[in-house]
Structure formats: structure tokens, C-alpha cells
């Protein structure tokens, strides 16, 4: 798909341009997003909790969820990881970006049961890794933030980009990061942070 950039994540503007408003929800149809496993499909009843097993930040975890819960809700409520932010809850701003099987996704826009058996990496999970540390230091040094609320999402998008493209050009950075809105407008410093991190990695 042409709108699927090198990170595997949709650029918001490109996406909107290409498909128009009616299919905005289709962000979750990104081919990187896993299918519902058969074992889960059998069990589902909307009012009953189901058990979800996945790998969260390198650890296998298990939690009871409702089928309608989004990954964002499960991260924030069940797992008590509030670093992933709920900003638009509509797949428009990137504030809730996490990494599922090495691809950046909007966690507000995917049902939690769809990540059964998958690897989920959140902002809390990248600190121990070399790349995460380098990216975080770059954001600090280049002041790639203001209020900081969109920042975990920005950092996760940067992480996903650099995972798949070690030396992105500025244009590639802009495209990859354009699905992460920053109302404070720290964009120049955010892109500088990503470039700085790629130079240090």
C-alpha cells in the first residue's frame, strides 16, 4: 500500500489525502496489526470478561478484559501504565502510540483482544534498552517537547522509525512522525531529536 510508510505506520496527512474522511477508522486495518486468534474467537461474549495474554515490555502478562476494551484502556487501567496517553481516543493524534510486534500503532484504535499473544512495547518499556535511552536523551538535549503530553507517543513513533530505518532523512522523519500531533508546536525540536538519536545510535 502506498500510504504505508517505511515504519509501517500511516502518516495522518497522507492517509487523509489518499482516502478521505470516511475511512479514517481504517487505520486499524494496517497489515501489521495481528488477527484475532481462533482460541479467542470461540470464547467471546460481549458482556463477559475474557483472559488476555500478551507480552508487555518483555514480560508475559495476563489480564481479564471486556471484548470492547481497547489496548489503550487495558494499558492505562488494567496494567496501570499511564505513560501512554488518551488524547483524542479516535485514531487522529498519535498520543497513544505504542509498538506491537515492532510496528507503531495507535493503541486507542485497536481492540485489546487483537493483541493476544503479541509483543507490546510502551514508553515504560524502552528505558532499559540502549535505543530507548539514546532517544530519550536526544529528546531531552534537543528539547523535543513542551507540555510533554504528546511526548510518549512521539518517542514511541521515533523508536519505531529508528527500529526500521537506522538513518532516516529529515523528510522521512517528518513523514513518519506526522501522525503525532503536538499542539504546543515543538515539531522542529522533535524532528531534531529523532535525527540526533539516529546519529547517536
Amino acid at each position: 500500500m502506498p500510504e504505508n510508510n517505511s515504519t509501517g505506520k500511516f502518516s495522518r496527512r497522507k492517509f487523509v489525502k489518499g482516502f478521505g474522511a470516511t475511512v479514517a477508522g481504517a487505520v486499524v486495518l494496517n497489515p501489521s496489526i495481528p488477527k484475532l486468534t481462533k482460541s479467542l474467537q470461540k470464547k467471546i461474549k460481549i458482556s463477559e470478561k475474557i483472559k488476555l495474554n500478551f507480552n508487555l515490555n518483555g514480560k508475559n502478562v495476563s489480564t481479564d478484559i471486556y471484548p470492547y476494551n481497547t489496548l489503550l484502556e487495558v494499558l492505562r487501567k488494567n496494567m496501570r501504565l499511564t505513560g501512554t496517553k488518551k488524547t483524542c481516543n479516535n485514531g487522529e493524534c498519535g498520543g497513544c502510540t505504542v509498538i506491537v510486534n515492532k510496528q507503531a500503532i495507535y493503541s486507542c484504535h485497536i481492540l485489546a483482544m487483537d493483541i493476544d499473544g503479541k509483543d507490546v512495547l510502551t514508553i515504560e518499556g524502552i528505558g532499559d534498552m540502549h535505543a530507548g535511552e539514546v532517544i530519550r536523551k536526544a529528546f531531552k538535549d534537543m528539547d523535543g517537547l513542551q507540555c510533554g503530553f504528546c511526548t510518549p507517543g512521539q518517542v514511541m513513533s521515533a523508536y519505531a522509525l529508528l527500529l526500521n530505518n537506522k538513518k532516516p532523512s529529515l523528510d522521512e522523519v517528518k513523514t513518519a512522525m506526522s501522525g503525532n500531533l503536538c499542539r504546543c508546536g515543538a515539531y522542529h525540536n522533535i524532528s531534531a531529536s529523532v535525527i540526533e538519536a539516529s546519529n547517536k545510535l
Binding site: 502518516s11 495522518r12 496527512r13 487523509v16 474522511a21 479514517a24 471486556y66 470492547y68 496501570r80 501504565l81 499511564t82 505513560g83 501512554t84 496517553k85 488518551k86 488524547t87 483524542c88 481516543n89 479516535n90 487522529e92 493524534c93 498520543g95 510502551t122 514508553i123 515504560e124 528505558g127 530519550r136 529528546f139 531531552k140 538535549d141 528539547d143 517537547l145 513542551q146 507540555c147 510533554g148 503530553f149 504528546c150 511526548t151 510518549p152 518517542v155 522523519v173 517528518k174 513523514t175 512522525m177 506526522s178 501522525g179 503525532n180 500531533l181 503536538c182 499542539r183 504546543c184 508546536g185 515543538a186 515539531y187 522542529h188 525540536n189 522533535i190 524532528s191
Partner: protein, 762 residues
């Protein structure tokens, strides 16, 4: 005597506030230029950066208290209606629903300057609060909203500003649709026009725009015995304390407001939320914490916006370029409740113009109420005024910058007072050089498909800050230093500059300081974070506190060394005696003091009397317009400012760029759209309401024209948050006109407007 009480007036977000407060007598001289300082003015990383970047920073919406309930408002689907009947039976029967407030079971808490109530049987806009549900989970609360049955009698409504201004039959409130019309006169307007060689009449329009901070408005409240604790995403902890106490009829001392981090505000978080008080009422009744987080749609309907504007100008000019008269009739909608849509301060104060007549009206419509939005009035007003100034220059075949310099004023035209500092001429020069203004050609010189244009605009704002603003500094026995101030960090770098100022004075590393802000119980009073007044108000108080601590350390060392205090030298956290034989560190002095903590209060001084305090600046824009698609691409913005002293160059540049990007959104894409047939807002999410992304940003270059303000305080800092956004849209609009030779007179400048203007001009 080191302090005194004063009565003074301060301008916050375009409104004057009188206060009585304590000030520090200005005992320290303003620091010299930044190149003589060690920390101030340098590029210093935020001290809260790691917390924010690693996701550990706890914002209000991240706070969860044990046993908390979740609150949700049922909101009116209609722009105007009367509630006839409320049936809660189904909702109350839902398991997990704990309480539902409606106007029928809730006391009449006055709201919107006593024109309405917390819950009112009349709803006046789509989104107006109808009922408040508290439940065990967010999902249950949402489900309960669907089970509440309301019978509405729909009423006629009006959502168009102009229509509402003349509408006789449809009234938003029974007293009418016009709020406090105001008039301002200077000189003799008729004589001014008679004196002119040319007059120009024109009209400019701007749209309603929405703040859209990333963190939605939210509160978590809990009663701790009789003390109400409010965690709030707010720009104003002390103001929320006062407003919440007043709303609930309790003492301010019984309310504690806490805000550590917030996801943006831009003015929309200066007011008390209905959600906060509804949560407090339920929390008091059920003795449980209540959390309310608005969603994006609610945020775009209910918690503020920038009024639109219709600005009708008539201007008189002499052949040689002097303004002789300026007349402005303006109106803008403030939504369904009284607020101000005034925008005339730039017209009154930007240029020397002896004769002025201004008439302004704020218009009620059936839409969400306006709130202060980053430089309220000035962003709209500068767009109109600076578009007009370009037209004047074009009429005289004059360079737009030259025209502005001809009308430059050295005194505030309203008060006739001199400025404490004004380096606008220097700012013009720097910003012009940075954009390559020498290449400027008259509008419409290019006939190619993609046309390049250059434009400029000036900026004026207040931003001098003032008292009362306090900071406490505490040295504990281990030598740790903590600074407390009841101010806020909106992402503007407040935490960091506070530590920097103290570090500069005490000559010890910035890492040694803890900064505690945004808590009314721990911190002394500081003003709201609005009006670009945080840094200019708080930084002098911090310096005052740190200097007093330094004095105290020297006094103590003098006793310990048994020497005169005048002979003690303070250097890098050590006190050294006269011959250099004895040296004692700050931590050691702390151990010797027979006090558990040494707590010292610092305060902001009074502003000098008889002077106007303003910020000034200019932005120049270079754009490319595609005449086939009508799309405007901003290539470059240069900006230069007189904002007094730079505290932190790293965060300053970031903040200025952010203001410019928000201004770019205002110029080219942002607009709240209401369907006039149904009175419903069509742009309630970030998909339909466009804000700039990383793909939209131009190159931005910034140079600061000022060293420091020599008169206002011991730090000489003026504010920058609002100045950053003020001139951007006007500069872009003027550049678009320069590219096309056709002026787009309404914002946003969307491709359809460009194509229409080109078509009409053919």
C-alpha cells in the same frame, strides 16, 4: 523595611484586575547583560524533561485515587431548548450508577457571571450540561447517559454572529444578544479624516478557533474530612481555589488545588470547570473521590474558543505616509454566555495615530462560550490592522516596513506614558534581515503558476507581569534547597527557569534545586499562568528569595568565623572569610543553624509608576502559493522580539516556534464550523478540525532584539507565550497578498478562498 503592601492594577488576558498585595522593595539591581551571567540566557535542558519523556510524569488525567467514581455529563444535543421532563429511572437502575445530578435535585450554583446555573433547565448550546452521572467505571457512566430520558422543547436558535447582532426575535438570553458594547475615542475623528490625503475602507474577518490542548480538561476531587482536594489540569491553581470555594460556599483555606503537570492549556484552562464542581458535589455526598475527564468532542464544544471577528476599518493617511485617523467597528461572537470579543488594543496602541474612534460589540450566539485563547483579541486585531497597514503602504507605493516605521510611536498612545523599554525598530531590522526583505517587490509582481510572496506584521502585547507573586526558598539540614511558588508550568519551562534563577544567585548547580509549584497548600501565591506573565512575575520573586538566602548564609558564616559580615565572600556555594583561611559550604552552614529548615520568602516588586510595559516584535513570512490548487505553503518565518531578558534560550526558541506554528494553523486551516440549519458543530475532533502537523511547518529563524528591561524588576524579564502567536497570521496573509496581488480578507486562507479571489480578480 523590605516589603510593603500596595494597591495596584494588573492586566491579565485583556482584562484589568485590581488587587492589594505585598511586594518586595526593589533591592537588587537588574542583572547586567546575559553574557555576564553563568546560567541565565544559556540553553538549559528542562529539569522535568526526563520525567515527561519516560512516561513517568503524572498528569491530572493519570491520577487515580482508591475507590474513585467516574463522572460524565449528559449534554444537550440541541443548540437551544427547554428541558420539560427528565426520567432517570432506567439509568438509576443500572448496576454501578452511584448518583445522578440534574437541575431538579441540585442547588442553583450560579455560573457564567450569574447568567445561568451549574445545571440549568434552559440549554443554550449544543453541549450545554444537562445531567451529571457518577458511576463505578467510565463505561458504566457512559452507558447510563444513554439510559437517561429527556423531553426537550426545542427553541429557535441563532449561530451566525452577524445575524445574532441584529436579530430581534431570537434571543440567546432574554436580555438580548449583545454584551457590553464599548466605545473608545481619541482626538477628533472627523478632523483626522478631513486632514487625510487618502482614505481606505475595508473589512476583515476571522473564524472561531478551538484551543485543543492535548490533555483534555479534567479533575480528580476528593474530600479529606472538610478539606476539598482538587487535582486539576489548570493554568491557575490559586484562581481555581478561589472560584471553587466561592461556588461551593466554603472557605478558600478548605480547598487545596494541585497541578504538577498539564498537557497544554492556551487559555482554555484558566476557568473553573463545571465538571470540577459537579464532581465535588457528588464526592461530598458519597464520600468517595470522583474523577472526570472530558473527551475530545466535549473539549471542542464546551470549554472555550477564540471568538470570530468582523472588523470594519476606515483609515486616513497623508501622502508622506502618516496616519491621520483610524476608525474601527468590530464584533465577534462569545457564544452563549457573556465574555469579551474585543480586539481593538492593537489599533489603539500599535502606531502613532492622533485620531481614533473604536466601537466594539461582543455577540451572543447559541454556541459554546469563548475563553481567553493565547493573546485574546490581539491575534484577531493584528490580522485586521496589519492587513490594513499593508493596504495603506500599497496605496502610497511604499515599502510596508517603511510605512510602519513612519508611524512608529515612542510613547503609549493611550496613556501617553513612555515605555520601560521598546526595541521594536531593532526587531524589525533583525527579522527583515533574516527573511531577506531587500528582495521585497510590490504585490502581484509574479505571474508564474507558483508565486512567492513576502509579508510582515508587527506585534504588541502586555507581558510585563507584576505583583503579587511570591516564592519561598527552603534550605534543609542536609543542604537540599527547595523552591516553592504557586505558579504553573504549561510546558513553558517554569520548573526550569525557577531553578536557573536560584542557581545563578547561589552559584551552585541547577541539579541541587527541587522546584515545587502548582499546589496551593505548599506554595505561596503566584498569579495565573496567562497573559504571558509567569516568567516576568515569578522570576524576580525567586531571585529575591535566593538573594535573601545568600545574605542569611553570609550572616551565619560571619558568626561562625567571628568576623564582620562585610568581609565574608560568597562564591560557588561557599562562604569564605577575609583572608581566605576559612571556608564553609552551604550544607555545613545548614548543619550549624539551629533550625530544622531555613525558610525564606521572596516577592516580586511593584512595577514602576508612570510607564507603559509592553512586549514588541515582528514576524516576516515567505510563502509560496500554487495558483492552480490555491494551496499556500509557508516556506519561512523570521521572528524578532523585545521580550526583555532571555532566561532559557532553549525553551524560549521552542515556545516562539510553537506560537508561530499555532499562528500558522490560524492563518491557513483552523476553523470551527457550525451547521446553521441544526446549530451543531461539525468540527469536534482532530480529523475535521485541522491543526498543523510536522508536514506543515516552515523554516523558522529567531533573533531576540532585547537584552533586558532595565526598569521592571530585578530580572528584567518580559513574557513571550502570547507575543509568539500574535503577528503570524497577519504576516502570512500579507505574504499571500504579496504573492498574488489579491488580498484574502478572511481567515483561514483556504485553497477555495485563494482560487475564488484569483477568479474574481481576473
Amino acid at each position: 523595611m523590605t516589603r510593603k503592601l500596595i494597591k495596584s492594577v494588573i492586566n491579565i488576558e485583556n482584562k484589568e484586575h485590581e488587587f492589594i498585595g505585598e511586594v518586595s522593595l526593589l533591592e537588587q539591581e537588574t542583572w547586567s547583560k546575559n553574557d555576564t551571567l553563568k546560567i541565565i540566557g544559556k540553553e538549559i535542558s528542562r529539569i522535568d524533561a526526563v520525567d515527561k519523556i519516560s512516561g513517568t510524569a503524572s498528569y491530572t488525567s493519570d491520577i487515580n485515587l482508591p475507590g474513585q467514581l467516574y463522572g460524565k455529563f449528559l449534554r444537550s444535543p440541541y443548540p437551544s431548548a427547554k428541558i420539560l421532563k427528565i426520567d432517570l429511572s432506567k439509568a438509576n437502575a443500572l448496576k454501578g450508577v452511584k448518583h445522578i445530578l440534574t437541575y431538579e435535585n441540585t442547588a442553583k450554583y450560579k455560573w457564567y457571571y450569574e447568567t445561568s446555573f451549574l445545571l440549568d433547565p434552559i440549554v443554550r448550546y449544543e453541549g450545554d450540561e444537562v445531567a451529571f452521572v457518577a458511576a463505578e467505571s467510565e463505561e458504566i457512566a457512559e452507558e447510563a447517559l444513554k439510559l437517561i430520558s429527556i423531553d426537550y422543547a426545542k427553541l429557535p436558535f441563532v449561530v451566525d454572529t452577524e445575524k445574532a447582532s441584529t436579530e430581534k426575535n431570537i434571543k440567546v438570553h432574554n436580555w438580548g444578544n449583545i454584551v457590553e458594547p464599548s466605545e473608545y475615542k481619541r482626538g477628533n475623528i472627523e478632523a483626522g479624516f478631513a486632514d487625510a490625503d487618502f482614505t481606505i475602507e475595508d473589512e476583515f474577518r476571522t473564524s472561531v478557533v478551538l484551543h485543543n490542548p492535548t490533555e483534555p480538561h479534567c479533575s480528580v476531587v476528593n474530600w479529606d474530612n472538610d478539606e476539598l482536594v482538587i487535582y486539576d489540569s489548570t493554568q491557575a491553581v490559586y484562581q481555581i481555589r478561589e472560584l471553587a470555594a466561592n461556588a461551593l460556599g466554603i472557605e478558600q483555606e478548605k480547598v487545596r488545588v494541585i497541578k504538577k503537570y498539564m498537557g497544554g492549556g492556551f487559555g482554555s484552562k484558566l476557568d473553573l470547570g463545571k465538571y470540577t464542581i459537579a464532581a465535588a458535589i457528588v464526592s461530598r455526598e458519597l464520600k468517595k473521590p470522583v474523577k472526570v475527564v472530558l473527551d475530545r468532542k466535549e473539549q471542542n464544544l464546551c470549554v472555550g474558543n477564540r471568538p470570530d471577528s468582523i472588523q470594519k476599518f476606515k483609515v486616513g493617511i497623508k501622502k508622506e505616509g502618516l496616519l491621520t485617523a483610524l476608525q474601527l467597528n468590530s464584533m465577534g461572537t462569545v457564544g452563549a454566555f457573556p465574555e469579551g470579543a474585543g480586539l481593538s488594543w492593537p489599533a489603539k496602541t500599535m502606531y502613532k495615530c492622533p485620531n481614533l474612534l473604536v466601537n466594539e460589540k461582543s455577540i451572543l450566539t447559541n454556541a459554546g462560550a469563548a475563553r481567553a485563547f493565547r493573546a485574546p483579541g490581539h491575534v484577531q486585531g493584528i490580522f485586521g490592522l496589519e492587513s490594513l497597514m499593508d493596504e495603506c503602504a500599497a496605496k502610497l507605493n511604499m515599502n510596508p516596513l517603511e510605512f510602519r516605521l513612519k508611524n512608529y510611536t515612542e510613547v503609549d498612545p493611550v496613556s501617553n506614558q513612555p515605555y520601560t523599554s521598546k526595541k521594536l525598530k531593532e526587531a524589525y531590522k533583525k527579522a527583515a534581515d533574516l527573511i531577506g526583505w531587500e528582495d521585497w517587490k510590490a504585490a502581484g509582481s509574479s505571474k508564474s503558476v507558483n508565486r512567492i510572496g513576502l509579508g510582515m506584521a508587527s506585534q504588541i502585547w502586555w507581558g510585563g507581569g507584576g505583583p503579587p507573586a511570591h516564592a519561598n526558598i527552603k534550605l534543609d539540614k542536609k543542604g537540599n534547597i527547595t523552591i516553592y511558588s504557586g505558579t504553573q508550568d504549561l510546558g513553558t519551562g517554569t520548573y526550569t527557569f525557577i531553578a536557573m534563577v536560584a542557581s545563578e544567585v547561589l552559584q551552585i548547580p541547577i541539579e541541587r534545586f527541587n522546584v515545587v509549584i502548582g499546589d496551593t497548600k505548599l506554595c505561596p501565591y503566584a498569579p495565573v499562568s496567562g497573559g504571558s506573565m509567569t516568567a516576568p512575575s515569578v522570576s524576580p520573586a525567586v531571585r529575591d528569595a535566593a538573594e535573601r538566602l545568600k545574605e542569611k548564609l553570609i550572616d551565619t558564616a560571619a558568626i561562625l568565623f567571628d568576623e564582620e559580615k562585610n568581609s565574608i565572600k560568597y562564591s560557588n556555594g561557599f562562604c569564605i572569610n577575609s583572608d581566605g583561611s576559612k571556608k564553609i559550604s552551604l550544607s555545613e552552614i545548614a548543619c550549624h543553624l539551629n533550625e530544622q529548615d531555613l525558610l525564606i520568602k521572596g516577592s516580586r516588586n511593584e512595577n514602576p509608576k508612570g510607564y507603559a510595559i509592553n512586549t514588541f516584535g515582528a514576524q516576516f513570512a515567505k510563502v509560496e502559493v500554487d495558483t492552480l490548487t490555491g494551496k499556500v505553503k509557508v516556506l519561512k518565518i523570521s521572528a524578532s522580539y523585545d521580550i526583555g531578558r532571555v532566561l532559557n534560550k532553549l525553551t524560549l526558541d521552542n515556545q516562539i516556534r510553537g506560537g508561530i506554528i499555532m499562528g500558522l494553523g490560524y492563518a491557513l486551516m483552523e476553523e470551527r464550523i457550525i451547521d446553521e440549519n441544526f446549530g451543531k458543530v461539525l468540527t469536534t475532533n482532530l480529523h475535521t478540525y485541522k491543526i498543523p502537523t510536522m508536514m506543515d511547518i516552515p523554516e523558522i529563524v529567531i533573533e531576540i532584539a532585547s537584552d533586558y528591561d532595565p526598569m521592571i524588576s530585578n530580572t528584567g524579564v518580559k513574557g513571550v507565550g502570547e507575543p509568539a502567536i500574535i503577528p503570524t497570521a497577519a504576516a502570512i496573509a500579507n505574504a499571500v497578498n504579496n504573492a498574488l496581488g489579491v488580498r484574502i480578507k478572511s481567515l483561514p486562507i483556504t485553497p477555495d478562498k485563494v482560487l475564488n479571489a484569483l477568479y474574481v480578480s481576473k
